[in-house]
């Protein structure tokens, strides 16, 4: 029975009074907790050990650039973006790496998971000079299209803001770059649920329509999001259907275009000499007429039905839809006008020919 006796003694020991001795500290209780430390987490004050004397501005810029993409902490990313924006909006503009590099590095941030980072990124974009953005519209649009059909609704909506900015800054390039017209329209329709090609995959024959998908459910928040989508679609279409104003004749420019080296990058992009072969969606639609034609053929019916539905819903969505409707109508009217103009010209020529023959 030795072991049980021993255990009994041990149990009793807890209830015996401890004797205090002079000159010795009181024994610590068994459940004593050390609370002398101050903080639970370790805070690192600086992320780099290099001396930041404000001398190496270029290095600092690059460091911010790296932080904006690579840092795990969203705070840091956000702060780095703020710093970059500050540099870019200073006068004169301080940008040691150049806009192309900057964009290549930062564009994945469009679909960043943190909302603040995305808003700051948009601010940074707004700080960029429009003329520098123009050559990179195609690339930006690719990222925008990726973000427009993202799973998260917030990212979708923020991406739309980027698209909004892009249309504002360089409307012509946006609608005329390769894939810029049809593919973007495709993303829009998919976003709004107005896509006829999805319905065909559903191969359900019958009079019931498919249930409205979960992402387009009409709640207050979603309604606002959809209104925003429709508004930006309207802007996009407006940019696409904007009548081209012929440049006034300038002799210098005329000769330059023939004999001088072109000043814009990739001036023969429409020939697609080196890229992969493009399909109909990825094709360039450089002028209004081609854009309008392909729109008539592929999208007008689908978007019109979508607009009708949206109008009936009323509210914010309805208002946005009516704006869109107006854009469509003016486009159609211009088309008519253009047709009539062409016909008249044709007729004039025929008449002239007749006169000559006579």
């Amino acid at each position: 029975m030795g072991s049980s006796d021993k255990k009994k003694r041990e149990k009793k020991k807890d209830f015996n009074k401890a004797k205090l001795k002079v000159g010795k500290a009181k024994a610590k209780a068994a459940n004593f907790t050390d609370t002398s430390f101050k903080s639970k987490s370790i805070v690192v004050n600086q992320h780099t050990l290099a001396a930041l004397d404000g001398v190496d501005l270029v290095g600092l810029f690059k460091q911010h650039l790296n932080q904006a993409i690579n840092s795990k902490s969203d705070k840091l990313r956000q702060e780095a973006l703020v710093q970059l924006t500050k540099d870019l909006s200073s006068k004169p503009i301080f940008n040691p790496v150049g806009v192309p590099n900057l964009l290549t590095k930062l564009l994945p941030l469009i679909t960043d998971s943190v909302a603040n980072v995305r808003t700051n990124f948009l601010k940074l974009l707004r700080a960029l000079p429009p003329s520098d953005v123009a050559p990179h519209v195609e690339k930006i649009l690719m990222y925008i299209r990726g973000g427009m059909t993202h799973l998260s609704t917030d990212i979708r909506s923020d991406t739309l803001s980027v698209l909004d900015w892009l249309i504002e800054v360089c409307p012509d390039e946006t609608v005329s770059c390769p894939g810029g017209w049809l593919k973007t329209l495709n993303s829009f329709s998919s976003m709004l649920g107005w896509n006829p090609s999805v319905a065909s995959t559903l191969s359900v024959k019958g009079w019931t329509s498919a249930t409205k998908t979960s992402l387009n459910k009409v709640s207050k928040k979603n309604g606002e999001a959809q209104a925003k989508q429709i508004t930006i679609l309207a802007k996009f279409l407006e940019a696409g259907f904007r009548p081209e104003t012929p440049l006034p004749y300038d002799e210098q420019r005329y000769w330059d275009s023939i004999y001088r080296m072109p000043t814009i990058p990739n001036p023969f992009a429409y020939l697609n000499l080196w890229g992969a072969q493009r399909d109909e969606d990825g094709e360039m639609y450089p002028d209004r007429i081609s854009r309008q034609q392909v729109f008539e053929r592929k999208w007008r019916a689908a978007i019109k039905t979508g607009v009708m539905g949206a109008k009936q819903e009323g509210g914010v969505i309805g208002r946005a839809a009516s704006v869109l409707d107006k854009v469509l109508r003016t486009a159609a009217a211009e088309e008519e006008g253009a047709k009539k103009f062409v016909e008249e010209q044709e007729q004039d020529r025929v008449e002239e020919v007749e006169v000559v023959e006579a």
């Binding site: 072991s3 049980s4 993409i69 290549t104 590095k105 994945p108 679909t111 998971s113 690339k139 690719m142 990222y143 299209r145 990726g146 427009m148 059909t149 993202h150 799973l151 998260s152 609704t153 917030d154 990212i155 894939g179 593919k183 495709n186 993303s187 998919s190 976003m191 649920g193 896509n195 090609s197 999805v198 065909s200 995959t201 559903l202 359900v204 498919a210 249930t211 998908t213 979960s214 992402l215 459910k217 709640s219 992969a276 990825g282």
Partner: protein, 742 residues
């Protein structure tokens, strides 16, 4: 206000995995979501293609996930995902060098997933992967592609042989080997062919043709790959077959566990799986053995092939292969020569240069020479070689190993072409049995016993032995001239089978005793010693029992009396044995009858082979050594290895202590420390994660934990005890506390 319902995708933001799960469960409702992701994938793909080498890790990751999602759902939306395969293919073929490894692996995995979902066919998958396998510099990608290709070929051949696909791939491999003979790319053809041959997926002549071309390549590696295939491919195949049938499941144990363990779904599943496996094994056991020819037999035009190999890699002085590889090629050439009895006269003079004891790995050369010899080789071609071996290797001055190897190789050559020996040389060699070294003695004796059988005239009279001398006198032992073939009239050993059947029948008769002469019909059925149910065509003399329709024609008239006579013979069997004179004439008659009157079943043929082997063993008087037995069992087509030549030198050598210890340890469980066997077993059990038995647990239980109960048991009243006992019985009947039986 009621709680707002949370929509499907709002709960988890941006979770592609859960989206995939939902799409696969209800593809119709999630078509829109899928289409969104398809667009996202498309955009991401374009981002990637616009700058494949400098894609950021973020982009790579996104693209990786989207590719994964689309691949898993591709079969649900065939219209939308129609271009998916082509896109992946282009991506892989154009950018496999710069793709991020993870992404690359995902793309390859997605392609094979598409194949598994039957979105694409095997041919398109393999034609996509194969060119990359050959061209990519990345080792990890190569191994990935290799496994994918092999597994896809296995899959598509699993139910039935997919001839069309096999032919396509074999043509591709053939072209790969033949198009550029100097490149190492042919290695991949070798590897793939060999693997599929090993798994018995390809068993016909076409893969052999591919390997044949590989052997004739200019690249050393490819040549070695091809040669190794022919030398070892079949053995590998057999080993693989043995391995696969290794895992035995104890049926009894599984069933027993099913009765005692608690019944859970998991256990049931495990049991079902085990039963399925057992059934599969049973089926495999009873399946007819596949008729697989050895690769060496499937070669088209072996003469041309062997000649080309010899000229290209051995005779050619410009060929700079290493000695080991040359030896491999030599082995293949000589193997072909021996197996197909080819004639390459220039091969034998070529050997002269290499037959000296100083030549590295000379035993392999000696073995190859023996392999290359057969009875159609002119003795003039081999004789100088034999003389050279005798001069170089066999002398009193040379080391014992060298001499024994020399004599042994001469014996191997002479076994195949006995005419290669002159009388003086043989007599000289046979005298070596007086040597001091046991190995040399054994080799010399082996040579002597060989010549006693095949050509005793060459031996001195005192070495001929009793049987050979008697045989010479009676004219039984006759030597064959060059080119003469020993032709068997009829089936070799048929008389043995006949005798065996007779014995069997007599035994049966003796068992039955008086029954024997009573029922003629019974006797008739059992006449051939085998149950006729085994193979219903076995006996054709039984007229009514098998239900075969008797068709009358001229043969039948002969057969009727023959059968009757046989029956009469059997009834007076003792007579037949006693009457010697009659036997000689009758036997020839009867033997031919057996082959003519009955159709031999597979069982008969197997027995025949066994009897033939036994007879051959019996012919060798006295106790037959193990090695002798092996020699007899060994087919002459099996080829000779260097070990065969070296072996006699090992005889009589004392092994060192280390060797003996290793021999003793072989096959026993390893023990690091000195422990009892029980302790070792126990620790092994523990290491396997197995629990102890209930008994063991009870024994180990702390005494103090049990003492209270024991005390209480003593104090129980009788009624209480009874109650407990009845409860115990009832409980055990109903399956214990867990109610296992319910």
């Amino acid at each position: 206000m009621p709680k707002r319902k949370v929509a499907a995708l709002e709960k988890v933001d941006a979770d592609l995995v859960s989206l995939q799960y939902k799409i696969r469960r209800d593809p119709k409702s999630y078509a829109q979501e899928f289409y969104d992701q398809w667009l996202a994938y498309d955009a991401q793909r374009q981002i990637f293609i616009s700058s494949p080498s400098s894609a950021s890790s973020e982009d790579n990751k996104k693209f990786h996930d989207l590719v994964d999602l689309i691949a898993h759902c591709a079969d649900l939306y065939p219209d939308v995902t129609a271009p998916y395969y082509d896109q992946l293919k282009d991506l892989l073929t154009q950018h496999h060098a710069v793709l991020n490894p993870d992404l690359r692996e995902k793309v390859v995995g997605s392609l094979s997933l598409l194949r598994r979902k039957d979105v694409i066919d095997s041919t398109s998958l393999l034609t996509t992967l194969f060119p990359i396998l050959i061209s990519t510099p990345s080792k990890s990608l190569r191994s990935l592609l290799y496994t994918k290709i092999i597994s896809d070929l296995r899959e598509s051949n699993s139910k039935a042989t997919n001839h069309k696909l096999n032919r396509t791939i074999q043509t591709v491999l053939h072209n790969l080997v033949t198009s550029d003979r100097t490149s190492t790319k042919g290695m991949w053809a070798c590897r793939i062919t060999r693997e599929l041959w090993r798994r018995q997926i390809w068993t016909d002549a076409r893969p052999c043709d591919v390997m044949k071309e590989a052997c004739l390549s200019d690249n050393e590696k490819v040549v070695v790959g091809g040669v190794r295939f022919f030398l070892g491919g079949d053995k590998e195949r057999e080993e693989m077959e043995d391995d696969s049938s290794d895992e035995e499941i104890d049926v009894k144990k599984v069933k027993h566990q099913g009765t005692i363990n608690k019944k859970t779904k998991k256990r049931q599943r495990v049991m079902e799986k085990a039963m399925e496996k057992i059934k599969k094994q049973e089926r495999k056991k009873h399946a007819p053995h596949p008729l697989n020819f050895s690769a060496l037999h499937l070669i088209h035009d072996p003469q041309g092939f062997a000649e080309q190999l010899f000229q290209k890699h051995l005779q050619n002085t410009k060929c700079k292969f290493s000695l080991d590889n040359k030896l491999l090629v030599l082995q293949l050439v000589t193997r072909l020569v021996g197996l197909h009895k080819l004639t390459i006269i220039s091969l034998y003079p070529w050997f002269t240069k290499y037959l000296s004891p100083k030549q590295p790995s000379v035993t392999s050369f000696l073995a190859s020479l023996a392999q290359a010899t057969h009875n159609h080789v002119p003795p003039d071609a081999v004789e100088p070689l034999v003389i050279k071996i005798a001069n170089e290797f066999v002398s009193e001055a040379s080391a014992a190993e060298v001499a024994s190897a020399g004599i042994n190789s001469i014996r191997e050559v002479a076994l195949r072409q006995p005419l290669c020996m002159s009388e003086t040389l043989l007599q000289d060699l046979v005298m070596y049995q007086k040597s001091k070294d046991k190995g040399v003695v054994m080799a010399a004796k082996g040579l002597q016993s060989l010549y006693r059988e095949v050509y005793p005239e060459l031996l001195q009279k005192k070495f001929r032995g009793k049987e050979a001398t008697m045989g010479l006198k009676s004219g039984e032992v006759k030597r064959l001239k060059f080119g003469e073939e020993q032709v068997e009239s009829g089936i070799e050993g048929i008389e043995l089978l006949e005798k065996y059947k007779e014995e069997q029948r007599l035994k049966k008769l003796a068992e039955k005793g008086e029954d024997a002469d009573g029922d003629a019909k019974m006797e008739d059925e059992d006449e051939d010693g085998f149950n006729s149910d085994e193979w219903e065509v076995a006996s054709n003399d039984s007229d009514s029992s098998t239900g075969w329709i008797n068709v009358e024609h001229s043969d039948d008239e002969d057969e009727g009396p023959a059968a009757k006579k046989q029956r009469r013979d059997s009834s007076v069997a003792p007579d037949l044995i006693s009457d010697e004179a009659m036997a000689a004439a009758a036997e020839a008659n009867r033997i031919s009858k057996l082959a003519m009157t009955t159709i031999l079943t597979p069982a008969d043929l197997a027995k025949l082979a066994e009897l033939r082997r036994e007879a051959q063993l019996e012919k060798m008087t006295g106790n037959v050594s193990k090695r002798r037995q092996e020699l007899i069992n060994k087919h002459i087509e099996d080829g000779v290895t260097a070990d065969d030549i070296e072996l006699p030198a090992q005889i009589g050598k004392k092994s060192t202590k280390e060797e003996r210890v290793a021999m003793a340890k072989d096959g026993k469980p390893a023990r690091e420390e000195h422990k009892s066997t029980q302790a070792i077993r126990k620790s092994k059990k523990e290491a396997e994660g197995k629990s102890s038995t209930n008994k063991e647990k009870a024994r180990k239980k702390n005494f103090l934990m049990t003492v209270g109960k024991a005390k209480a048991k003593h104090k129980r009243s009788l009624v209480d005890t009874k109650k407990r006992l009845t409860a115990h019985i009832a409980r055990s009947k109903s399956g214990g506390r867990r109610r296992n039986g319910m």
